[in-house]
Point group: C2
Chain length 507, copies 2
């Protein structure tokens, strides 16, 4: 691509181009002569489209021409209609294809921490988990003790991190909210980026440590300890006891060292936040290419954010490896339809006025951009929020789109690295799994370069191909997994983003 | 009362006594001879009660005898029925009485910070507010700059505090959740315990600073500043800019000094958490007596925790100062009935099995213990969550019972001191309004004395009257309001308990 191009065709089969600068009626560039003014991010026809013919973008039908559209015409809500009943080639698994794995001796590697349970970590933290907001301050005080020079004799430990949150009591002991929360705690208690975990409760909260231990067969041992503030007799004693228990974990934690392991042991969280008109054109497909590479090297990539794939779920079910996987995705979609309805909302009132102003015409078109992060390989598993990943390959985890809530679930499911695309400029960072930030456009990258790891805007501004950008992302994933700090990690993010998904009534 | 007593009659009109130790059948003490074994916290008849006669506790009908009850019999679910349709003397305002105010020259005083808007603070903090979880880490970094010796030249400033939270995006821009959140931010932006406020957003979040400013007529000035991370170009620049703006507020903040003011300028948050069988007998009524004193001195006391007053709301409406006040309380009750129902819960499935095991027979009996915190004076105002208090006297604010969520709302409404009763042993502390903790029993007080400010267990264990205990609480409120640290404040609580009430779907 030329750096002077002002529009882009996203797939050779498309019959629309997307303006990447505002195009003025009648002013030609090398590849187009729009017959009306096309705002940045909007579409125009790259060929004549007759009434009722499909509008194709990303090689997908995003709608149908409601009137005759001439080459160069603006294509938007006035002449493009979504028809939910058109025949999609979307039978479950109809597009399932064998993954083109790299040969065993060609698999990428990274330097990771092998854990006793067979999982491999990318970081080596000690965690102070909390069962309830009421133990947040004690947990923070315990972790604070290990700041500054307290770990100087333990150079292989990345730090002691407290995970405070806002829930754990004033909630029902049954239902989706409590189930989510227990899965989160269990996922962190067993996460490979931790060498050891101390869990601190208040004592009288709804989310009892004893209930978690019973439901998930957790037991105190050298690497997992639990206690309550009420049990030990108050704040000062709890802080002292917590410090003591963590100090006992330090030697074993420091004995963990990085070893060369196959990329098959990597689990990548895919995420987007602060999306813009470029997200679906640059960073998301580039991240999808990186996810494909990781999967071909034997690893795992987790797509999430259910409300943002709504309308494009057939693109996932048709890649489903089994009918069961497809059914579980549709069950989650139905759950969301119900959940948003009882809360006086709707999951399908997209695209929003802001989306439409930005050039997105139909909900399918909007979701296509988000789904692009998931690459092209088979969908191997569908998980509830924070459910442990047990399959390799491309998987989907149910979650809201809200970044910290979604990533909290993906990490609980097992993600050890996060890739986060952003158009508006998120500064997101996370512990214990480092977050790599991918700018969707070069202006953003210049404006917030200290926070952005890769400029995917170069797909447009410098003609870098999606595949080449995917390769760059994949190589950075390997480096960051091996210990190189991501931008947000170096800035010190990750102590305030743990955010379990709350569902239901706060009582 | 004798220190050897093993049961207590809570009001002279009651026909039941409450066991404050397990009473063994047939073993007499000075005042009782139970005819069956009575577990601690359970009731037995102090006089014969005929079938269908009311059971009276706290001078309130808590139920009716479903069979003949002999003096000394255990009174519980087997022989005491709740009848929702009995005639309660509960016409709105029927028990409204003129408050016996202390004369102007007898009013208590405290040393507070007079603010330009006429409000009076009990602390002198600078706040770093966040509109969204995505700006939490930047806000914490800004506040951290002012730790250690950075404020040595500003001895009148209590500190710079960052208020991080989990919401602000992935939410609808309409409805109860967003309204709550805007009220919270507005309440903190104008709270008298702050000499200045810096509000930091990410930039692309749902909860736009511009929307808050428009809806609440806020404007940047010397004491209120706002900025977004995306606006200034990333994390490092945002932290530097935030520090700069706060540094500009330091001289004016340090010029604030405590002055003697009337207790009428005090606004007290009433709260209970980790309740036990003693809460309704000792600490809650003692706190109610303190609230009555504060109101008689011209001040304001905020009761909250709607699910915990459910079933006893007639005791509040009959004290309502106007019909409008009573109606607003009932409107909130109806809202909760709807809200819990659509979320597959119920607000009236109390008392729980645990409550019943502890001796609470009916929902009315349970809620009576919580309502006791509110004393006896007229109900002057009913507020939605985080709505600003504009009346003096006793008021009610709608909130969940969950402590951090409820106190966050009470402080946003204007509370400058918190009194928190606890039986199980909460370690709760809060900023910017100090929290005084009241133990309901002496065993807890001994076990967690470093966290408890007052042992209300002495009502039973040392024969201290409720009025005397109320006076002790009131005197401590004045001291803490004047600058004496509460126990949790001295321990360093308050940086992790800010917890806005989230309602509705996380998207
Ligand atoms: Ca998104
Ligand atoms: Ca997101
Ligand atoms: Ca602080
Ligand atoms: Ca309570
Ligand atoms: Ca409470």
């Amino acid at each position: 691509m030329s750096t002077e191009q002002t529009s882009v065709q996203l797939h050779e089969n498309d019959n629309v181009r997307v303006a990447i600068a505002t195009l003025i009626k009648g002013i030609s560039s090398s590849v187009e002569t729009p017959v009306s003014t096309i705002p940045l991010g909007h579409k125009f026809a790259s060929a004549e489209i007759k009434t009722d013919e499909p509008i194709i973008k990303y090689n997908q039908i995003i709608g149908f021409a409601s009137e005759h559209i001439a080459k160069g015409d603006h294509v938007h809500t006035h002449n493009c209609q979504f028809r939910g009943d058109f025949e999609r080639d979307s039978a479950s698994g109809s597009k399932s294809t064998p993954t083109q794995f790299f040969a065993a001796d060609q698999r990428a590697t990274f330097m990771g921490f092998k854990r006793a349970n067979g999982k491999v970590g990318t970081r080596n933290y000690l965690a102070v988990m909390t069962t309830v907001n009421c133990s947040a301050t004690v947990a923070k005080m315990v972790a604070k003790h290990f700041e500054d020079d307290a770990l100087d004799d333990y150079p292989n430990i990345d730090g002691v991190v407290a995970f405070a949150h806002s829930t754990g009591c004033g909630m029902g002991m049954e239902g989706d909210g409590y189930d989510n929360f227990q899965r989160i705690l269990h996922g962190y208690a067993t996460h490979p980026n931790f060498a050891g975990v101390l869990m601190i409760g208040l004592g009288c909260e709804t989310a009892q440590i004893s209930d978690l231990k019973k439901n998930y067969s957790l037991a105190d041992d050298a690497g997992f300890q639990s206690m309550t503030i009420q049990g030990v007799g108050g704040t000062r004693k709890a802080v002292a006891e917590g410090i003591k228990r963590l100090e006992q974990m330090l030697p074993a934690a420091n004995a963990c060292i990085r070893e060369k392991v196959s990329a098959e042991h990597l689990t990548l969280a895919l995420q987007c936040g602060g999306s813009d008109g470029y997200s679906g054109i640059t960073a998301n497909p580039a991240l999808g290419a990186a996810a494909d590479l990781l999967v071909r090297h034997g690893g795992t990539a987790i797509l999430a954010e259910t409300p943002e794939i709504y309308g494009a779920e057939h693109l996932l079910t048709e890649r489903a490896n089994t009918q069961e996987v497809a059914d579980k995705l549709m069950e989650r979609i139905r759950w969301w339809e119900h959940y948003t309805r009882i809360n006086n909302g709707s999951i399908d009132n997209n695209p929003s006025p802001g989306n439409k102003a930005g050039g997105l015409t139909t909900i399918l078109e909007k979701s296509l951009g988000a789904v692009a992060k998931g690459g092209t390989t088979d969908l191997m598993q569908v998980l509830k929020y924070a459910e442990p990943v047990t399959e390799k390959g491309f998987v989907f985890m149910d979650s809201p789109g809200y970044d910290p809530v979604s990533v909290t679930g993906e990490v609980a499911s097992g993600a050890t690295v996060v890739c986060f695309t952003t158009g508006r400029g998120s500064v997101f960072g996370y512990k214990p799994s480092p977050s790599i930030k991918l700018a969707t456009n070069s202006q953003l990258y210049e404006h917030m370069s200290e926070d952005m790891d890769i400029n995917c805007g170069e797909v447009l501004s410098a003609g870098v191909s999606i595949d080449e950008m995917g390769e760059r992302i994949f190589q950075l994933i390997l480096k960051v997994a091996s210990g190189q700090p991501s931008k947000s990690e170096a800035l010190g993010f990750g102590d305030n983003e743990f955010n379990p998904w709350m569902i239901g009534t706060v009582m």
